[in-house]
């Protein structure tokens, strides 16, 4: 099989993984090296496909042969798709050829399980090792970790990769047992736990090194997966609620210090299993989950707060599709408002619909020197129109009647049916 045919198969097989981040790693560049590559904190999206997703990394599978039978997966054992397998050198050369032309930030390598977990993991590690050691590649490497693989392989993977990830796939063990019978939440979490522990150890080693009075002897200890770990949850392949999904996410963030949880709307795949819904991917639901995830990570909301806001006509535990979760919470907690932008705490300001973290921090800065007026908010490009009923500022005092009104919700929801997210 020609290389380009393998690429077609193995990129196609990899596209259902939503992760694309290339940010947040330690700073490195090739000025004192032999090869190419740099990571400078910010990720770069080198292209966008018409699905609106960024293309930042060469995202491929090492092979799409797989002995597992996960119903939702295009590469499951019983799927009738074409199969291919790269060699280590092929992946390495593709990565370097693309990188040198500035098409990509690096490599995101995953794989179907062949023979067994250890054997598969060895192949992934071999690619990363070859890139780092033979070619002194200093770009971004994201390795998918096979949870059942040996701890030593995991250690090697963390030495070479910027990011490691293990997909939890589905929010509950029950769903996993049903749809991915070879997978097990306990094994997945154990692997995440191991990555967290390794990262903490390496952070402690680096701290100890920094504190040495004279940095003699051995060089700086290498960081373990400096861009952290992430995971993915498939949304809409089985009946779990948004509440269950967010509950799982928040436990994962807290337990294993994940950088990101990705939500991937289950989308039709070639040669799909009859057991799964042949439907349009629930893109708006996916979008709402990302918004809720943001609220948990940057706005101080707890998972259950977000999903407990009753929305007329919604299934319990599901996020409203009509209004975003922050607005939904505000509409359900009117007694919390109005919030005074000139007096209230950051925590309270963060709950105002329409104001993001940046706007809130700007307000806090400005109000040290002058009273914040409505025009200041407009100038800061805060979402003033949305925020108005919920705030008090120097020249704006909304009537409390409006805040209590039944019509307030209607103001934010279009009268016609919700349009699909485009």
């Amino acid at each position: 099989m020609k290389l380009i045919d393998k690429l077609a198969i193995l990129a196609d097989a990899a596209k259902y993984d939503a992760s694309c981040a290339s940010s947040g790693s330690q700073a490195k560049n090739s000025t004192k090296g032999r090869g190419v590559g740099s990571t400078e904190g910010m990720g770069i999206c080198h292209s966008y496909a018409p699905d609106g997703r960024c293309i930042s990394l060469l995202k491929v599978l090492f092979t799409n042969f797989c002995i597992y039978e996960c119903s939702y997966c295009v590469n499951r054992n019983s799927s009738n798709v074409r199969r291919a397998r790269f060699t280590v050198d092929e992946v390495v050369n593709l990565t370097l050829d693309f990188y040198k032309r500035n098409y990509i930030e690096g490599l995101f390598l995953s794989s179907g399980i062949i023979r067994n977990a250890d054997y598969t993991m060895e192949q992934l590690v071999a690619v990363a090792r070859e890139l780092r050691e033979t070619h002194d590649f200093r770009g971004y490497i994201h390795l998918k970790t096979i949870p059942e693989a040996d701890g030593e392989l995991l250690a090697a993977a963390g030495r070479y990769a910027d990011r490691l990830s293990i997909n939890i796939e589905l929010p509950t063990q029950q769903a996993l047992t049903e749809l991915a019978p070879e997978k097990d939440q306990r094994t997945i979490k154990l692997s995440m736990a191991r990555i967290r522990s390794r990262r903490e150890e390496s952070a402690a080693d680096q701290e100890a090194y920094r504190r040495q009075p004279r940095r003699s002897g051995k060089g700086k200890p290498s960081a373990f997966a400096p861009a952290g770990q992430s995971t993915q949850i498939i949304v809409g392949a089985e009946p779990s609620t948004d509440a269950q999904i967010l509950q799982t996410s928040s436990a994962l963030y807290a337990g294993y210090a994940l950088r990101r949880v990705y939500y991937s709307a289950f989308s039709p795949i070639p040669d799909a299993s009859m057991r799964l819904p042949a439907q349009q991917p629930p893109l708006l639901r996916e979008h709402r989950l990302y918004q809720a995830d943001w609220l948990m990570r940057f706005y101080g909301y707890a998972a259950d707060e977000i999903t407990q806001s009753p929305d007329p006509g919604m299934t319990p535990g599901m996020l409203s599709l009509a209004v975003d979760p922050k607005l939904g919470w505000a509409l359900a907690h009117r007694d919390f408002f109005p919030v005074d932008v000139n007096r209230d705490s950051r925590t309270r300001l963060l709950r105002i619909p329409g104001l993001g973290v940046k706007s809130v921090d700007r307000i806090l800065q400005v109000r040290r020197f002058q009273k914040v007026r409505l025009e200041d908010l407009v100038a800061m490009r805060a979402g003033v129109k949305k925020a108005m009923p919920f705030i008090v500022c120097a020249n704006h005092h909304p009537s409390l009647i409006e805040l209590d009104s039944d019509k307030l919700r209607a103001r934010y929801t279009p009268p016609a049916q919700q349009l699909p997210l485009l």
């Binding site: 596209k15 593709l94 736990a193 799909a272 299993s273 020197f369």
Partner: protein, 489 residues
Amino acid sequence: MTQRSLFDDTDTNALTAVRIHPDFSSWQQRARQLLMDEVPPQRVLWQPDNTQKRATASSSVTAIRVPKSFLTQASAASCYRSDDRWALLYQLLWRLTHGEKHLMQLAGDRHVIQLRNYAKAVSRDVHKMKAFVRFRAVDIADGDQRYIAWFEPDHYIVEYAAGFFQRRFANMCWSILTPDCCAHWEGSGEVWFSEGADKASAPADDAVEDTWRCYYRSIFNPARVKIQAMMAEMPQKYWKNLPESRLIPELIRDADKRVAIMASDAKSSERLHCGPRPAAPAQVLNEAIQQSESGSIQQLALAAHNCRNCSLWQPATQTVFGEGPVPARIMLIGEQPGDNEDLAGKPFVGPAGELLNRALAAAGLRRQELYITNTVKHFKFRAKGRRRLHEPPQEEEINACAPWLAAEIEQVQPSIIICLGVTAAQAQLGTYVRVTRDRGKLFALQGRHYLVTVHPAYLLRRGESPQEFQRFVADLQVAAGQLNSLDIR
């Protein structure tokens, strides 16, 4: 020199024309001079002129103190494609040094907003340049290659952005050609710049672009077309220099057809294509349970991994079973595993475990001779951001776990059970036990001795005073003493 008013417009005729080479250092140098001469902004007419000499970075020693945020934004805004940028920068500099030193914090100020918008536009342009520059390899002498790109930025950013390409492609030779300015790197030394070029001087193709297009086509998911999202991040003005963009119309056109085929293709065949499936994890565990010695502690520990007696198993990582020799003369029972124990799968390995180890040693007890376990075998927590906060187990959870603990005691057959903390004490001895009142006392119950003391986490919470630690050690010594007296008998 006398201080002039900022609003003194009486002298508008006396405009000073200032000709500078359009780069940040040249502006800095002249602005510094004007400021020293107290020339107000409305009297300065900035005239960018490419024929002027460039200022060198260190041409002045006079330092003017300005906030760092001004400097970083100003150096970015100086690349903005508009001739009014130099006046804007001087306006802000003047205000910053004439009584408005907090100016940069006034996010609603007209000039501050304009500066921010200019700087933002430039940094976005730089970001897009980093993203959308596409090198094409050209063979040069000795089998080496030179990488050449053609790019059309909105603003004058080539010099500002060149450092990124130098750091990233330090060991390649490359050129980035643009209409305003070209950057070149020879693999060492300094990046050098030349006059603007035209597109024809850049190479027209690269064989790898076919492979890249194959990748672009394959990574696209036709089931989730979101054209606006793509256009927002990759505006059409960039498409003409992106080798992959020619695929976009066809990918969009065929997307619905491809999805329809997928939907009609669904099938229920379960014929395997990649060899036999491995055993399910639950089955593996069940086999291990069956193969282990019936009724042994190993079998118990394995079986406990499957425990669903209460809901704590779901958010936790794993069951943390007891650990130690069987039988053992002393058994230690804590409350529940914490964050570290949940990760490691072993009891008392975190900070509380470390304190316990020290206390045991001080009391003359050897940890490896004790059997150590918890009342509840799963970590109960509340997720708060990046942390898991300990939550005390409720009665139903304690009861759900009781059979495991009873089975452990049955196997270990300890002479003395040390209860660490109230949860363990009350689970073993009943709710009438009070740790503060009853600590350090021995209770005899059904032929077994029980000792109650505090949980080491309690000492940690209270800041671990030497006195408290000594009391804890003294409690443990009661158990050690009892063990000796049992030996004598």
